[in-house]
Symmetry: D2
Subunit: 348 residues, 4 copies
């Protein structure tokens, strides 16, 4: 049997209601490549969340959503300012640089969250043609470190970006978890906070596959269809992507899923917070717990539970919860952590 | 109600057995990005078809399969010799050129099929650095014009390619239809014919989405995982792609589907062949019928039936059949064609 | 001793007045990368020729001028309509495709010259995201086949391009030869004919190295400095490029050089036109002569004179004249051709 | 009159002997694109310096040399480890990322010099396809901060690189200054130290324009001609580049020039070292002096002397010396610095 997984929110499967919708749209012939009524219905639901100006482009995956978002607002001599922990900087095999030609100007942060003054700092200095011309600020909500920007923080980043002629992109692979944590609608973190373009994900929150780009600033919605097709992200039988978004956005399924995952993460953090040798690295503001634990206990724990080491050098591990993480597993896991750490402490 | 569609084999939905398998694998957590046992199972079935040396890389879609296949065997100053009707040349928004940097050397053909002497001709002339250096021959099986290469024809192309230091790539978006038409296994058209790398598709034959690259020549299987990830084609919950291949390759579902689609195409061709004003443009060797018909009857027919004009100038239309095309619809369609053409003839 | 060369107009060296100017500007320190007064002076001379709106960007070579011109007006999903004989299509090792990502839509012509209706034809058909979106028409003046567009012909191409939302680019590697042939100023072929962007060359007409981009349509002059630098075309000691343009544009040196080269080409054509077996392939409207000659005589002639075979299959050779081609050499060459062909005829 | 320039070693002109050679090769017609005897002669001189296995490719400029060197040994999913002060990282408008597709893994250093353990550190961590695969270590000799690696230091970097399957690239824009400082031949810093590929520059040391790539490891010399042509770096009248290298490598002109520039830099450093408020930032091991000086004195000094601020925040300026920097100017400059700083100190 596979060990219980706190490895990633994409180790989970598909939420039953989403799978049901996939099954439901499997009827007859419809036009391919997005000219179908399911996609139109999904688009309507997107606009209900993000406003009437929002343009919705389902794509194949999250890397595709991020890279094509950036591609659509840049030219090759631009640069993208982002935290150095950004997924685009660390986990996409250089796809952003390769596909857009842009340099990533990766900035060190305390907690995965960029600050307005860091944008200003990245912009200072020589502005001539020997250097890339900055064009985008990219932030992740919730961040790769499990923290979340507040709407106000996002707006201040947007203001700083816009004041300097830059575009604000949000990697929203876990935006549902942030919205659930902050108890706000998607729009509060995006449209209302003046985000320009969003990678809107659902796979980590119960969808099967396929993510999307939502262009919130209509001035930037230029020929995205060409970018998506040339970017190898256009699904032929698109109804099966759109169906997922329909189910996801109906009856707040997204919120229910995200709330559960977040709750499990908070529970886990709470249960291990006082374990000797355990230190929670960053505030638990989404569905992940990052903790420093004694390196020696990690291999033993990994025999029973699946999780990743986040920072080998600093001894930080990452425990991710999902829409289907069971409370009993969280409790079981926390007990195993406690046992391992206490044993370790006694022996050392 | 939507008109009955002969528009494309990707207007159809998903074959029930494939959808069932997708539902079946939705159990618990498994590791993401292909390190799961479903993907291993799919790989086994692939190797049963294509030989033990075959390496299997599920990707997001057919454009991705083609472009990354080419990328994996080229560098930017290479060129790709292909028929000018090739999907990579006409229908991928320039993704092959953009992503690989290569020039496509598109060669005119009678019937969508490249001949060995055309490879030789494309190679003659100056070989210095002012010209791209040819590196790949790319053919489509079955072709975009509904014809199929025989195993012997493929082998001769492979021989010519290899003799000249080139690689043979096959776009197999409809390889099942060719195999069904020729009544041979996949391996006869690929491994045994010395094809080096294959875009192995299933979406047009009953799968939901996701295609694959199969590297048949192990010497060319260099770090494809990096190419796939950077190429924005790596699915996180890959089990849902692999599940489709499992169902597709079990109990010859692929063959059953392709045979049906081919049969419907042949039936349609047979029923309209003697209609006045109708001329079948190319031999019906897969699931598509291409016909010259009087331009004037097209708009009327398109009100009842969905299909595309293939060549505006020459008045050629394309009628595609699918795994779920119903015989009654084919008959109905053929009668409508006959009626429209006969009426037109009388009036003119 | 090297054989007398009719191989290429870039087999010649540098015109003495240009070399003298290079020597003259070698005084003291000046700011690098084009912020020097020599470059400003060259720019003034350029504006005198092309109008006050013209923006001047010296670059490293002709391929650089062409590729960055195209890059500056396209994005990766665009395409470029050009004659199939265009230098960008045949002699730049795929640099245009690789660097811009665009597809070249190469059109067959009779004489190297594109016609307006060919632009229209290339634009017809499907306009959706499955195909590249055309954005540029690129023509060469004088053409690679030694013919020249008249100002009126260029204007009609510009009108057709603009009417369809396209940009007109001119590869002016030999624009001086066309202007000399037509007896018009540069502006008649460019600014006044509504060309948008020009690769303005001089190397083939007596300069040492370095070509330039001239943006004639100010709306398209967007951040070209960044494109040039990132495109590896920015010279540090730019005064030595600018000096060449200063000499070239002073006292009509360009015209004197081009007139001479053209005159030599016309003389050569005149002297061999009646030779048995020789057929001039295209009108001699610049400094090159293209001729069909008996294939058998080519090797013997190449022992004494350097020239290239243009089209192996059709038996067409190319004889290029330069600013320093000597009349005696032309006469000597024509006699050798006559002797070889007459001897061949007698023996066969 | 222009202020005396300590702005850059490329503000200087061309050394008279180099210009003389350019004039000398301007005789008659020779084959273009490097198939001429001057280029062969330059190549011989290169091989005398770098060994018989060295392959010599003149290119248009230093960015071209660096970018094409990297391109020739990488594929798009690779990464390049370099100091964060590397010219490729800071001053090439993102050309390396854009043209190679690779990520630059820029490492912080004390003095512009990479250490072997920093390579090891950059290689540790996850090695899967989510991250770029490191392929090159790139160092600059002399560094952008005016320091020089010893032969032994270079060899240790090469060993570390090779042990890990990486290639060592050297940006040798100022390799002459390093060789002069260390009193070793070029080969000691390159061939003998196991450098694989070198950007060999001369423009900053008295040449006019044009730099070169020298492939030292013959296994890596694969179709560089195609890379150079497609990379827009192939000069047609190449003899005028080659001539410069001939003069540069004859009678140790390179050494004489570099020695002079270095001497002027050392003199300047010596003369200002004890000025109150002045602190030499890094050892003066080439032809540049980097100094912290009171920010307030900079504008006044810049009125009389041309130089750049290197680090606005830290108040570091850069003073570059050239092959033609006059000792009297250095003394004059040092007095002005002393005067300005002493005046500033008194007043504050």
């Amino acid at each position: 049997m596979e060990p219980i997984s706190f490895g990633s929110d994409n180790h989970s499967g598909v939420h039953p209601e989403i799978l049901e919708m996939i099954n439901a749209v499997n009827r007859g012939h419809v036009v391919a490549y997005g000219d179908d009524h399911y996609t139109k219905e999904a688009e309507k639901l997107i606009r209900k969340q993000f406003g009437e100006q929002a343009a919705f482009y389902p794509v194949a995956n999250g890397t595709g959503a991020n890279v094509l978002s950036l591609k659509s607002v840049t030219t090759s001599y631009n640069s993208v300012i982002c935290p150095n922990t950004a997924h685009i900087n660390t986990d996409e095999c250089g796809a952003p640089e390769h596909y857009t030609g842009c340099k990533l100007e990766a900035v060190e942060t305390m907690d995965g969250k960029l600050r307005p003054q860091q944008i200003e700092a990245a912009l200072s200095g020589r502005h001539d043609e020997h250097h890339n011309r900055p064009r985008v600020v990219s932030i992740t909500e919730a961040t790769e470190l499990g923290t979340s920007y507040t709407p106000e923080e996002i707006r201040r980043l947007a203001d700083t970006a816009h004041k300097n002629g830059l575009v604000l992109h949000m990697d929203g692979a876990r935006i549902a978890n942030a919205a659930a944590f902050l108890d706000v609608p998607f729009s509060a973190l995006t449209t209302d906070a003046d985000v320009d373009i969003l990678s809107f994900g659902g796979t980590k929150n119960g969808m099967m596959m396929g993510e999307s780009i939502i262009v919130l600033n209509p001035e930037l919605d230029k020929e995205m269809k060409f970018i998506r097709k040339q970017g190898m992200q256009l699904a032929s039988k698109m109804r099966f992507l759109s169906a997922q978004f329909i189910a996801y956005l109906t009856d707040e399924l997204w919120l229910e899923n995200a709330r559960h995952a977040n709750k499990m993460a908070r529970l886990l953090a709470k249960l291990v917070r006082d374990v000797p040798g355990v230190e929670i690295a960053w505030p638990v503001e989404a569905n992940g717990v990052f903790a420093r634990i004694p390196k020696a206990v990690i291999p033993e724990l990994q025999k029973q539970f699946f999780f990743y080491i986040w920072d080998e050098e600093k001894g930080i591990v990452r425990w991710m919860c999902s829409f289907d993480t069971e409370e009993s597993h969280v409790r079981e896991f926390s007990q195993a952590i406690r046992f391992a750490c206490e044993t370790y402490e006694k022996e050392n």
